[in-house]
Amino acid sequence: MSIGSDELSRIAELARLRVDSDELPALTRRLDDILGMVETLQTVDTEGVEPLSNPLDAHQPLRADVVTEGNRRSEFQSIAPAVENGLYLVPKVIE
């Protein structure tokens, strides 16, 4: 299995990574190596092996439904780059 540069560009965009076009061939080769390793892994017979969702042999503890957090807005907003009227400001996300 190998990956094309179109596919790589798409993955980069989804991950919000800027990849220059002259970097693409090298990156494609390296990703192909990784995919090759995954391909090898996929040949392992996993018949009867339960899928692992967490390496710890434990169950999720649950917490009681109680409000324990107070208002710490001013502390949090003192380290934010831009705030107004209690809101965090970010670059405009719709046209």
Partner: protein
């Protein structure tokens, strides 16, 4: 060509917990921006989620309420996408192993027929924050109070065929979650939001057409209108030989149309993988059994019981079980007055009518069940007629006291004294020689109609207080007697 509409709905239900699904922040609606956003909700480095037991309990109660498979083991996954109101860069959701599996849900349509709608799954997830695009000097404002609010996403099979069915489904779902007490169901505050998946196919076809998804519709009426618009839009495209594009659309209520969301965005690939910060959730059989035993009687069971125990029609029973409070009110009246059918009639016609006119919920009715039952008892023992009872009801609504007090103070007691009634009947007969002659000349069938005139006159003379049954008997006898005498 005739087209069949195929609809599946995804409902995001906000669960009525005090705190968030993975943090101890409050979920209260309407707080100042970002005052209910903790370090976990803000995705500060090193913060870890801890699952809220109540959110799990509510999800399981929903699953039990629709007889679904309950995931004895369920797993949280990360759904990855970038948006500023999602500070972690992923939403914690469930993918391959949801907490609620396949179930069935029965809806009743207006004609009384029922349909079973498949529920594919329901899973727990966290809500995102809110983006405010109004004027912040060309920037977007972010409020993370809602981030981390527990949601149950309920996914239906593509089993719905029309806007009417979709709305019936949503209303039944809304009623169910209120019965269960797992959500406040407040649609205006976004406690129940709906994504609509809709496609058309030639009538009789088994394969699904290409669908469009309409995101975030938040009222029954808008769901209905969005479906109607989208159905026509797709039909137009198909009729003219075009192809429907699979895309996400928005419903604009002001223009009553759906339109595509920005399409330049690359189709998202959420790259789900198991959330390493949470362990699998394992539910004990005994805990599930305990929840099952504590479930309240739910609408379908209650409706069936109202039909069999009280002899109500399926339609009437359906109206009365719409909310738990209404069903309880009706049962209190029925038990107290001893006649369920009359109780059902009064609750549905007079009480609900008045509540609707004043836009009140049953829990805020100025007339308590005991008072309504007291009124019905006076109809049943012939103290007042149904017509007078409506006057008494009006007075009770205005807070003038219970039925007996109002009947007494307004002098509304029905006249059942045969001497008094006879005098009234005689007077009316005497004053209406023309009508009497007409009556006597008529055949038996016509007489039945003509007697209405005399009854009306007697009721008028008695200001509505004459016992109508006795008046009818007296009139029939007197008019008949005279005829024989003549």
């Amino acid at each position: 060509m005739s087209w069949e509409t195929v609809i599946g709905l995804e409902v995001h239900l906000q669960l009525a917990t005090q705190s968030k699904i993975f943090s101890g922040s409050s979920t209260r609606f309407g707080a100042e921006p970002n005052t209910q956003a903790s370090a976990v909700d803000l995705a500060m480095p090193g913060m870890l989620p801890v699952l809220n037991e109540q959110a799990v309990r509510f999800a399981v109660m929903f699953g039990l309420g629709i007889d679904a498979e309950i995931g004895r083991r369920s797993v949280f996954d990360r759904k990855n996408y970038f948006y500023p109101d999602l500070p972690k860069g992923y939403q914690i959701s469930q993918f391959a192993e949801p907490i609620v599996g396949r179930g069935e849900f029965e809806i009743t349509l207006e004609d009384g027929s029922t349909r079973s709608i498949g529920i594919t799954r329901a899973h727990l997830e966290e809500d995102a924050g809110k983006s405010l695009h109004e004027d912040f000097h060309g920037q977007t404002g972010i409020d993370l109070n809602r981030a981390g609010t527990p949601l149950l996403e309920i996914v239906s099979e593509p089993d719905l065929r029309s806007a009417t069915e979709a709305v019936a489904y949503l209303k039944a779902l809304h009623s169910l979650v209120l019965y269960l007490g797992i959500s406040d169901g407040n649609m205006a505050e976004g406690s129940m939001r709906c994504d609509i998946n809709l496609s058309l196919r030639p009538a009789g076809s088994d394969t699904l057409g290409t669908r469009a998804e309409i995101k975030n519709v938040n009222s029954f009426r808008f769901v209905e209108k969005a479906i109607q618009f989208e159905t026509l839009r797709q039909a137009d495209i198909l009729e003219s030989g075009g192809r429907v594009v699979q895309e996400t659309r928005l419903y604009d209520a002001e223009r009553d149309e759906t339109r595509p969301m920005r399409s330049k965005e690359v189709a998202n690939d959420y790259r789900y993988f198991p959330e390493p910060d949470l362990l699998p959730v394992v539910l004990e059989e005994s805990w599930i059994a305990q929840l099952r035993s504590e479930l309240p009687e739910l609408p379908p069971a209650k409706r069936a019981r109202f039909v069999s125990d009280y002899g109500l029609s399926t339609y009437d029973a359906g109206v009365l079980v719409d909310s738990r409070a209404l069903a309880d009110y009706f049962e209190a009246v029925a038990r107290d007055c001893g006649d369920a059918k009359i109780a059902a009639n009064w609750v549905q016609v007079e009480l609900l009518g008045q509540l609707n006119r004043e836009d009140l919920d049953i829990t805020r009715s100025p007339v308590p069940p005991t008072q309504l039952a007291g009124l019905i008892r006076r109809i049943l023992d012939d103290s007042i007629s149904g017509k007078i009872a409506k006057q008494v009801f009006e007075a009770m609504w205005q807070g003038e006291g219970d039925a007996d007090q109002i009947i007494e103070s307004r002098g509304l007691k029905q006249v059942s004294d045969s001497g008094k009634l006879e005098a009234m009947v005689d007077a009316v007969i005497k004053d209406s020689p023309d009508q009497v002659a007409q009556y006597r000349a008529a055949d038996a069938g016509k007489q039945k109609k003509l007697i209405g005139y005399f009854v009306g006159q007697v009721m008028k003379a008695s200001r509505g207080q004459a016992n109508p049954g006795m008046v009818n008997q007296l009139l029939a006898r007197k008019l008949g007697d005279n005829q024989q005498d003549a």
